[in-house]
């Protein structure tokens, strides 16, 4: 199993008009472009060109890079996305960051409780993904933009999906 990167980026510009209605404009960009050049393009060219065409104001833009699984296996019988591992983290300011992981493995839930086994090596690796980031580069942050630094609690919860 391996993640394969899509051969395009998706660039989306967000608009808001005088009545506070919103709209978006998206286009695909070849991945031959450097992300730094694409992100710089808004300030250098796109903002001015859009302002010349549209009465709406630009509220932001986003650039998405995606990868897909190239050899999707059948999910195991026990998989249910409604069963979540709810991890409650704290950022450096003490602000909560809650992440709900779909279909937490039952074996990681301690019997007689909803608590997730925080001594399990795989769980520790997941927690470290958030509190230390990957190689210090993709560093999870809170809504306030402050680094996530600690795990407060982790438990199993259930949330209904759209189909049940």
């Amino acid at each position: 199993m391996a993640m394969i990167q899509d051969p395009w980026y998706t660039y989306t510009v967000s608009f808001r008009d005088r009545d506070n209605n919103t709209a978006g404009m998206s286009f695909k960009i070849a991945t031959t472009a450097l992300v730094a050049d694409v992100t710089a393009a808004f300030g250098t060219t796109l903002a001015g060109a859009i302002a010349a065409l549209s009465d709406a104001v630009v509220t932001g833009w986003s650039l998405s890079i995606s990868a897909r699984e190239n050899a999707l296996a059948t999910a195991v019988e026990s998989s249910d996305v409604e069963r979540k591992g709810s991890f409650s983290f704290l950022d450096a300011s003490g602000f909560p960051v809650i992440v709900q992981l779909p279909s937490i493995k039952n074996i990681l839930v301690q019997d007689g409780s909803q608590a997730i086994d925080l001594t399990n090596v795989a769980v520790l690796a997941f927690v470290n993904l958030f509190v230390t980031g990957i190689l210090g580069i993709i560093r999870p942050v809170s809504q306030a933009g402050v680094d996530v630094t600690a795990l407060k609690s982790a438990r199993k919860v259930h949330r209904s999906s759209a189909r049940g």
């Binding site: 990167q5 899509d6 395009w8 608009f15 808001r16 008009d17 005088r18 209605n21 709209a23 404009m25 286009f27 695909k28 960009i29 070849a30 031959t32 992300v35 992100t39 393009a41 808004f42 796109l46 060109a49 859009i50 065409l53 549209s54 009465d55 709406a56 104001v57 509220t59 833009w61 986003s62 650039l63 890079i65 995606s66 699984e69 999707l72 296996a73 999910a75 195991v76 019988e77 998989s79 249910d80 996305v81 992440v99 992981l101 779909p102 279909s103 937490i104 493995k105 990681l108 795989a122 997941f126 958030f130 980031g133 580069i137 993709i138 560093r139 942050v141 933009g145 680094d147 999906s161």
Partner: protein, 150 residues
Amino acid sequence: MRATITIYTTDRDNNSCRWSYHTAAIVDTAGLLDKMQIIADTIAAISDARITRIMYTIRHVVRLLDRPVAGPGRIERSGLFITTAANGSIYTMIVPAIKDTQITTAGTLAGVLLTDDAINVASSLINTLPVLNDELSTINLPFITGSVVS
């Protein structure tokens, strides 16, 4: 700038679930795919669901204080620009709230047209980036025509 990592998962009953978390944005994405693979492997070790896709989105939000006041146009009236792609398919781009000054006074059976200036500006907007019509086909510029749509 902020970034969001979004993970798409499905279970055995084909229920799907999308969840995400914020990270600091990185502009140099060298090695990003390797990091996505690490994320997928780490999650797969504790989840029964299949990870079908991971998306890394860099977001830039214009601060409220920096935003100009919107003009009189409304997003329901848009400018539709049309051109072709290298593979012969049609490429369209819709610009919300097209300005009055970019609309010609003459109408045709095809609708209300946009000015040549609008077509040139829209072309330069797209020409800034290597835009694709679909996954692989590049588009031809300048735009062939522009009209008003609601």
